[in-house]
Subunit: 235 residues, 2 copies
DNA sequence: GCAAAAAGTCGACCGCAGTCGACTTTTGGT
DNA sequence: ACCAAAAGTCGACTGCGGTCGACTTTTTGC
């Protein structure tokens, strides 16, 4: 009862992803047609749209696996006692290297994660959550070691650091940074700047903390929902 | 000599942009076909590709004008003596409001500016330059008023602040921030954080300043090239 | 003033993402 | 065991972005 269908679906889904991965890495995203993926997966074109709503969604599903793997690798070689700045540089540079192995791949991923289309929002948030979680852990560690100002909000700091990573990516894709070494140097400089602050004597405060708290709750609520389920289908 | 063609080209180009604007705002970017634009502009489809290399390029050309206008508006109501934080909030929120008047419009623009396709890189940098210039001016003012640490590099600080703006946009498009008021509160909090710094006692320095300087020179060189020309054609 | 070259215009055509409705397979109630 | 409904599969079809090469208009050199 409920067996044959379930397993078939899982298999087909996997076949689609595998075919897609193989073709994407061979010919790139844009040059790979849905029809080719379907052919290689041994199914009809229309069937794919029973599993994914858009071509990008296949791409994101593929990324999800890859990124999990990359984070796993990273966790191993991370030294939780190193200064926060060093840990951050290592984390971001690993991600950067991973994501820009192929220029087009990285751009697509960055676009879809930073400014997702309505269709891909859920997937995109899923991946956000992974980043935020990783960053959050580094920050907790740093906080315990007294490297952070106690007044600093965790999520806000996470966002701040993530913003800097986004900027680096953007500079890379705009051609302002061309060598990996430049990326690392700029990243380090910016992170250092973020930690030590731009201002001499900062006037005013951070504004109403109520709104921030509300937003934080929303983000946390959503990202904890995701960790529970790992279901495959949409709708 | 060389008259008829020149003027024709200018007129046609303008007609394309006007038709595009009208259709984009009526039906959105994706729902507007190149053919429809051509029809409305009274030319053939193929002709458009003599003026723009891709559909997005038309969009960007349209944005350029709009953004110039928006910056102009802004310059008028900016109070150059207000605290840096306030000026930044006003600048970014104006841009944010402008850019998200239409959700799709804003996303497309953000994508193309932050992670441009090779084809649109030039246009994208053009617009970057405008942002950077605006920000740079605010920063110079703040520096003169002693609001900034003297050790802080101008371009690096500009980038830092821009990163925060990008993050806000990203949070908006990911659905983490839904009310404009939330955006403003988060923006203010993050900017405050950037100015006052995350770290308690920051270990290490910003790394090798040589690379940063090299990159700075590149960015400045490129953005000054653009201000000179305001030519219409590519290739 | 004229012919060759250069620049510009055009729409038929190509390949592809995504839709649709006809068709097949599985499920669950009896 | 049977059969209606639900779930899944399929490829022909639609609409669009972008190309191409044939055609027209302007410029240039004489």
């Amino acid at each position: 009862m409920g067996g044959i269908r379930e397993t078939r679906k899982r298999e087909t889904r996997q076949a689609i992803i595998e075919a897609a991965v193989s073709l994407f890495s061979e010919k790139g995203f844009e040059k790979t047609s849905i029809e080719a993926i379907a052919r290689m997966a041994g199914i009809g074109k229309g069937t794919i749209y029973g599993y994914f709503r858009a071509k990008e969604e296949i791409f994101l599903a593929f990324c999800e696996d890859e990124i999990d793997y990359a984070f796993g690798m990273l966790a191993e070689k991370n030294d939780p006692q190193a200064p926060l700045l060093e840990q951050l540089v290592i984390l971001f540079m690993s991600q950067f290297r991973f994501v820009t192995r192929n220029r087009e791949f990285g751009r697509l991923l960055a676009r879809e994660i930073a400014f997702p289309r309505e269709v891909n929002r859920e997937k995109s948030r899923d991946m956000d959550a992974r980043y935020l979680q990783g960053l959050g852990m580094l920050l907790s560690g740093a906080r315990q070691r007294g490297e952070l100002k106690p007044s600093v909000d965790n999520l806000l700091a996470t966002g701040h650091l993530y913003a800097i990573y986004l900027l680096m990516l953007s500079c890379w894709y705009s051609g302002y940074l061309v060598e990996e070494q430049e990326v690392e140097a700029s990243l380090r400089a910016l992170l250092h700047q973020a930690l030590s602050g731009l201002g001499e004597r900062v006037s005013g405060d951070g504004g109403d903390p109520g709104v921030i708290e509300k937003v934080s709750r929303r983000i946390i609520a959503e990202s904890s929902t995701e960790s529970g389920k790992r279901d495959e289908t949409h709708e």
